[in-house]
């Protein structure tokens, strides 16, 4: 019997993998993909509870999360291109212009 707790553990594991990617990798494109993994983990949780409670609201929230993820990807990749045009790099350790 697969309970929502199983889905929660899967979602937590996926979220932590995305978090490790954000914290450890230095390629900014990989970091953006890790953020997508984390958003996916949240969506799995929402859909699992929607299925458990037989209520469509969880799936509606998942659609909103996908919508925000699409907006985030478009703007973020635009920023990556703008930074790359100025600094010729996608390594976040070299993007230290605004550091004090």
């Amino acid at each position: 019997m697969i309970t929502p707790a199983h889905y929660m553990i899967l979602s937590a594991a996926l979220f932590v993998i995305g978090m490790i990617g954000v914290l450890v990798r230095r390629n900014i494109i990989i970091i953006f993909m890790s953020i997508e993994l984390m958003l996916n983990a949240v969506n799995i949780n929402l859909v699992a509870f929607s299925s458990q409670l037989q209520n469509a609201v969880g799936q509606v929230f998942a659609i909103f999360v996908i919508c925000v993820a699409a907006a985030e990807a478009a703007v973020g990749l635009g920023i990556i291109l703008a930074v790359y045009r100025n600094k010729e790099t996608v390594n976040i350790d070299e993007m230290n212009l605004m550091r004090w």
């Binding site: 979220f15 932590v16 914290l23 450890v24 390629n27 494109i29 929607s50 985030e72």
Partner: protein, 171 residues
């Protein structure tokens, strides 16, 4: 039994491809593993009876967002992506923090396993939501969530304009 086999297989594949996404050196391979990961998550949605969301996942994530990533990966020059190291960087601390969060999640989940569910939380037996999935979502989206729906459309418009402005030459 079949549900359990499908769940464990899909979970293993999802986690495997997620680890590959963040661990391989070649960024193009990373994007392709991300596509596989999204497709298996869509299969998991089908298992959960959310067919409409599975279609959205395939169309928007695997079809749209990943193509955007591939375009950017092709546009930027990835000679040696991660050669330069910042001496102030604390990668080990980041890894330790992530593992601490994992431990916290596992403790919460184990607590959920140990504590019996409250009486009102029993799983309803009828599969009405799975059968009328699109109808249910459409009903909720256009009645209770009409204002957030319109705000989301404005968000997408702003993101589109913002992306065009940011990627324009001379910025």
């Amino acid at each position: 039994m079949g549900e359990a086999i499908a769940f464990y297989t899909l979970s293993a594949l999802i986690l495997l491809f997620a680890i590959l996404v963040i661990s391989v050196r070649n960024t193009v391979h990373s994007v392709l593993f991300l596509v596989a990961n999204f497709l298996f998550v869509a299969a998991l949605y089908v298992l959960l009876g959310a067919q409409f969301l599975a279609m959205i996942q395939v169309l928007v994530y695997a079809g749209g967002i990943v193509v955007l990533y591939l375009f950017v990966v092709m546009l930027v020059k990835l000679k040696q992506p991660e050669t330069h190291r910042d001496p102030q960087r604390r990668s080990r601390l980041g890894l330790a923090l992530a593992l601490a969060v994992l431990a916290e999640f596992v403790v919460i989940a184990l607590y959920g396993f140990v504590t019996p569910a409250p009486a009102g939380a029993a799983r309803p037996t009828d599969a009405a939501l799975a059968v009328h999935n699109v109808q249910e979502i459409g009903w909720a989206l256009y009645t209770d969530f009409l204002v957030p729906f319109e705000v989301a459309s404005i968000l997408l418009l702003v993101a589109m304009i913002g992306a065009i402005v940011l990627a324009r030459r001379g910025m």
